[in-house]
């Protein structure tokens, strides 16, 4: 088991693309750290630098108490699950699972024992002699996972391991990953572009954007107190509404002292639909999307619908139809303010 530290890590690719701009990140021993962000934010590059598949242009990578910045991947004692699974197509499942142990010179008897153990734990016993081409997507995913587990490494790295699975399997595997982390208590670093995956899996979440870490914290903290406008809109679904703060009369009361022209952020869940005139603002209903357990309503502010768009989540039994005017009441305790110049949180 080991902690991981990235210290002022920069990565510039030969084509001039800068994928990491001074990333500082400390991952505690046994932590499940999720790196999340839109594509191109540098999360995969950060992971690959931990793995040793990319060398930082500047800065240090430390695993345990060893500086591994210049070490090749095979000397780092890590295991990685790739997005494409990267199973060796010419080997059977058994050989795939055994490969890492064989490379490290583990005795054949011990290899057989550990492979059997991992296969049993993942329900792969019956397919041990098949090749990856003969497996379903879910089974391949399990083999990729098993190949990491048998190694009993210090650190597990995951590069969007669920993105090739269908929705149902993704949920199941997500739960299984959480279970796995609890059982192994190993340090895990997980890259995803899916903020929901990040919130559900992570002990902590690092939100990245354009090669920088915007915010690191436990999922709920990142959700409840986003440090920047970017984090506020990226985390949470549907995305947080952003409005000019002066649209909402009296929003600056309650001890908050936003800067002039601040941006107001409010989550769709934190707005209630009330009869017209009885809320903070009136709005015209545009589109109503029933989502089963709730309604997602798109509205335009103002009684004639000429204002900015607002998204609201309400209970599913609310009577509401397009082109009707309704009132909106904002949950005063859950408003966020951001400095329009820096994008940083105010208050």
């Amino acid at each position: 088991m080991a902690a991981i530290r990235l210290e002022k890590v920069w990565k510039t690719y030969p084509n001039g693309h800068v994928a990491a701009r001074g990333v500082d990140l400390a991952i505690a021993d046994g932590e499940f750290m999720v790196l999340v962000g839109p594509s191109g934010c540098g999360k995969s590059t950060a992971l690959r630098m931990i793995a040793g598949l990319e060398t930082p242009s500047e800065g240090k990578v430390i695993i345990g108490d060893r500086d591994v910045t210049e070490l090749p991947p095979q000397e780092r004692d890590i295991a990685m699950v790739f997005q494409s699974y990267a199973l060796y197509p010419h080997m059977t499942v058994r050989e795939n699972l055994a490969f890492g142990l064989r490379m490290r010179g583990v005795a054949p008897a011990a290899i057989a024992q550990r492979v059997d153990g991992a296969a049993r734990a993942l329900g792969l016993d019956s397919v041990l002699d098949r090749k990856p081409g003969q497996l379903s997507g879910g089974q391949r995913q399990r083999v990729a996972l098993g190949r990491a587990i048998v190694r009993e490494p210090k650190v597990f790295l995951f590069d969007e391991p669920l993105s090739n699975l269908d929705a149902k399997l993704r949920l199941e595997t997500r739960a299984e990953l959480a279970r796995l982390h609890r059982r192994l208590a190993a340090t895990m670093v997980y890259v995803t572009h899916d903020q929901e995956e990040a919130l559900t899996l992570g002990s902590r979440v690092a939100v990245m954007r354009e090669g920088r870490v915007e915010q690191v914290g436990p999922p709920l903290e990142v959700y409840r107190r986003p440090a920047t406008v970017f984090v506020a809109t990226f985390v949470g679904s549907p995305a947080m509404n952003l409005l000019a703060a002066d649209l909402l009369p009296g929003s600056q009361a309650g001890g908050r002292t936003p800067v002039a022209g601040a941006t107001l952020g409010v989550r769709p869940h934190d707005i209630a639909v009330v009869p017209p005139g009885s809320g903070d603002l009136d709005a015209l209903v545009d589109v109503v999307e029933p989502r089963g357990s709730e309604l997602l309503i798109y509205l335009r502010l103002g009684p004639t619908g000429d204002g900015p768009e607002v998204r609201v989540i309400t209970p599913p039994d609310l009577e509401v139809a397009p082109d009707r005017v309704v009132g909106l009441r904002f949950d005063r305790g859950r408003l966020h303010f951001f400095d329009p110049a820096t994008g940083g949180r105010v208050g």
């Binding site: 793995a51 040793g52 095979q74 295991a79 990685m80 494409s84 010419h90 490379m103 790295l157």
Partner: protein, 272 residues
């Protein structure tokens, strides 16, 4: 559609007959008694005789050039595939300065007309005492076979997903080991295609073999056949028989691995 299909069949039939007929004539001629060859050789000889083949191996010791050709073409192929695959792997995967230029130079090397390099190569080989030796043929052959091999294999390696060897390295394999245990097995069709093409080129090569050998001890099959011609006559029956003997192994190889060659050559053209 149907009419067009019939036309296509006809065109293909004409092409196949056109390509196969000379070969058929060679087979027929090699079985025709010498006397009949010049009296308007029949389409199929009767009686068919094996005299020419027998003469090849009794009078001419034709096994000697066959042995030479096997050694030279075999060694060239072996070096091309082993060294060439390492070289191609580096060019396909590693990031380093001047890679495009290097690939260009490799290609350029194979573009010199053979006749232009024959004399300088002869002088060079003579100065290192390699005239009339196996290395004296294998080394020059590598100059044209290696660029071909490298280019074919670079294309092949590029289409293998990089994540596979990354996975192998994370799993604890060195780059060389990842190459050996993961890349090479997956690249077998490409390696086979490269090996066959290299072998065929070296097997058929004539000009270098003629220029850099001095006697039957090191002459290869094409050279030996060309030298059948005597002062007063050409033993056409034996020439045809020798041509069949020389073509047969190549034809068998290509037919046996036809699918792999096509796979290897079209690799990377379309994503599988």
């Amino acid at each position: 559609m149907r009419g067009r299909g019939r036309w296509a069949t006809l065109v293909i039939a004409v092409l196949v007959v056109g390509a196969a007929f000379p070969f058929y004539r060679a087979v027929a001629g090699s079985l025709t008694p010498e006397a009949q060859l010049f009296e308007g050789a029949p389409l199929w000889p009767s009686p068919a005789v094996l005299d020419h083949y027998r003469a090849l191996f009794t009078e001419r010791a034709f096994w000697l050039p066959i042995r030479n050709s096997l050694v030279v073409a075999g060694a060239t192929t072996l070096f091309c595939v082993t060294i060439g695959s390492l070289c191609a792997y580096a060019l396909a995967r590693l990031r380093f300065r001047g890679k495009a230029l290097l690939l260009g130079v490799i290609l350029a090397v194979s573009m010199f007309p053979q006749i232009a390099v024959v004399s300088p190569l002869f002088l060079l080989l003579r100065s290192v005492r390699l005239i009339d030796t196996y290395p004296g043929l294998i080394l020059p052959y590598l100059t044209f076979a290696m660029p071909l091999a490298v280019w074919l294999l670079v294309g092949y390696f590029r289409q293998l997903p990089a994540e596979l060897e990354e996975a192998a390295m994370v799993d604890g394999a060195s780059r060389l080991r990842a190459f050996r245990e993961v890349i090479v097995p997956l690249a077998l069709p490409g390696l086979a295609a490269t090996a066959i093409l290299t072998f065929v080129y070296s097997w058929n090569e004539f000009l270098f073999a003629l220029s850099f050998t001095l006697g039957p001890e090191r002459q290869t099959v094409p050279v030996a056949i060309a030298l059948f011609r005597g002062q007063y006559q050409v033993p056409w029956g034996q020439v045809l028989a020798a041509a069949i003997v020389a073509t047969a192994p190549v034809a068998v190889l290509v037919l046996a691995f036809q699918r792999r060659i096509v796979q290897g050559l079209t690799a990377g053209a379309v994503k599988g």
